[in-house]
Symmetry: C2
Subunit: 288 residues, 2 copies
């Protein structure tokens, strides 16, 4: 089973694929758009894309692609982000003059980087791709910030581990598919809708869930291109789409939302303390 | 009166400074952080920073800086974004092999760029800075996407004008100051607050405004670093902070928001069809 992700082998997205679908064959693509394309044209069974990081916030390109393409969200997975400073074997910390990584990774290690003297931070396209660059160019004055696995894959050693500013640095990923078949019994639903510009419009939209005691886990707004200061609202609710309360809330919302679409209904991610991290993402496994 | 902005002369941020404060002396800074620093340490009277683009969405770094620094929002201004393809005099469109600009500008001209053959788009730090690079390097195979004014400043000619995908491409900027003195009679207020994780929490927060017929113009959420999946909510409401209804709503909100801060109360931007674009941003000037 082929599963598309963005980045190079060793990327956190590849780890997300294997955490959610341990038997998958991860396939790297250069951009998020190409991950969505690969799922749309059937080159892969699923795609796994980051949607939100607990420090950096939402990954807007993927919110936009969810609306632009006709795919469904079928699962989610969270991956703790542990950044390492990686360099060629034998390189010492004091030899390092340049540090390469994705801008968000550089930002997440800002305090660590400020503590290094005479070091220039250089933004690149990808964390694991930065490790690959250090290996390919055989530069002994350059380090990369990436995962431990990226270091292993590209023959680099970790000069420092866990260099991110916050321990609780977690990225949430979504699994997307052409088929609207969730990866387990659904208990979470993602919606997107528009509202007429009127006082209290968003309050009314949220009321359809609040009045039915349905919890919201995320609200995101994105601009509607060509219509300044109008927004698409993305909402995650803690209930299955097929649940009667959710169905009623959706009918209620449709009364005043000019457009409303279900992006997917799927099992929300649960950490499994009692099973290995590589175990299959089965619904309720954590309760066992 | 010195006013800080991010970017090079010719940046849209510089245009925003002059649109809001025609008598200002705009002062360029490399990063948003340094604009906030310059205001905080008194090097400048005001800073003007982009907060939202009608196509690309919110500029999160500035949302984060508003909370991290103790400054007030004292005004806002909108600037239409018109992108130009700029090159050295005599260069023809068919000579161009590379196009430099800020990633958001490249994204905003994606359809135009797809129509050019054998052209590589290269992301840089800044739109006007890209124009400067083309001038400094005297490259005849390279063009920049930036404002017409950037072209004039750096001696470049416009090969094509208005190349952005959407006509209604507008950036909204905020003026920030150490003093909590709005640039005119306020009729808009920006708040930031946190909520306890509980069903209906956001619904209740919005209710304090909806029940008083106070309109919301923007809701943005940003992560709380170190507390995964908890959020800071930024809200713009169409009422002055001193208005009795707003004061009551804030007292009501404080009953259940663990933290609540007013970022500023200021005159909302109004387009002035009947006065020149360079006229002072005086409250009610558009009503003439």
């Amino acid at each position: 089973m082929r599963v598309a992700y963005q980045g190079e082998p060793g990327a956190f997205s590849e780890a997300a694929v294997l955490r959610l679908l341990p038997d998958a064959e991860p396939r790297p693509y250069p951009t998020f758009d190409e991950v969505f394309d690969a799922v749309s044209n059937g080159s892969v069974s699923f795609g796994v894309v980051p949607i939100e990081n607990s420090i950096g916030g939402s990954i807007h390109r993927n919110y936009d692609l969810l609306v632009q393409r006709d795919l469904s969200i079928v699962g989610e997975v969270q991956v703790p982000v542990v950044h390492n400073l990686l360099a060629l074997p034998g390189v010492r910390l004091e030899d390092v003059r340049r540090v390469l990584s994705h801008p968000q990774a550089l930002a997440q290690c800002a305090a660590f980087l400020r503590g290094l003297e005479h070091v220039e931070a250089i933004a690149t396209y990808d964390t694991a791709g930065s490790a690959k660059m250090v290996r390919d160019e055989q530069r002994r004055d350059t380090a990369a910030i990436a995962s431990e696995r990226a270091g292993t894959l590209f023959g680099l050693e970790s000069l420092r581990s866990g260099i991110q500013d916050y321990d609780d640095n977690i990225t949430r990923f979504l699994a997307i598919s052409r088929q609207r078949v969730p990866l387990g019994p659904p208990d979470k639903t993602s919606l997107v809708f528009t509202l007429k510009s009127a006082p209290g419009a968003l309050f009314k939209a949220l009321s359809v869930f609040a009045l039915r005691d349905i919890d919201l886990s995320k609200l995101e707004s994105r601009p509607v291109p060509g219509r300044p200061w109008e927004y698409l609202f993305y909402l995650d609710v803690a209930v299955a789409r097929e649940d009667l309360q959710c169905a009623r809330a959706m009918v209620h919302l449709a009364e005043f939302a000019p457009s409303l679409r279900t992006l997917g209904s799927y099992p929300r991610w649960r950490e499994r303390d009692d099973v290995p991290a590589s175990a299959p993402a089965k619904e309720g496994a954590g309760r066992g």
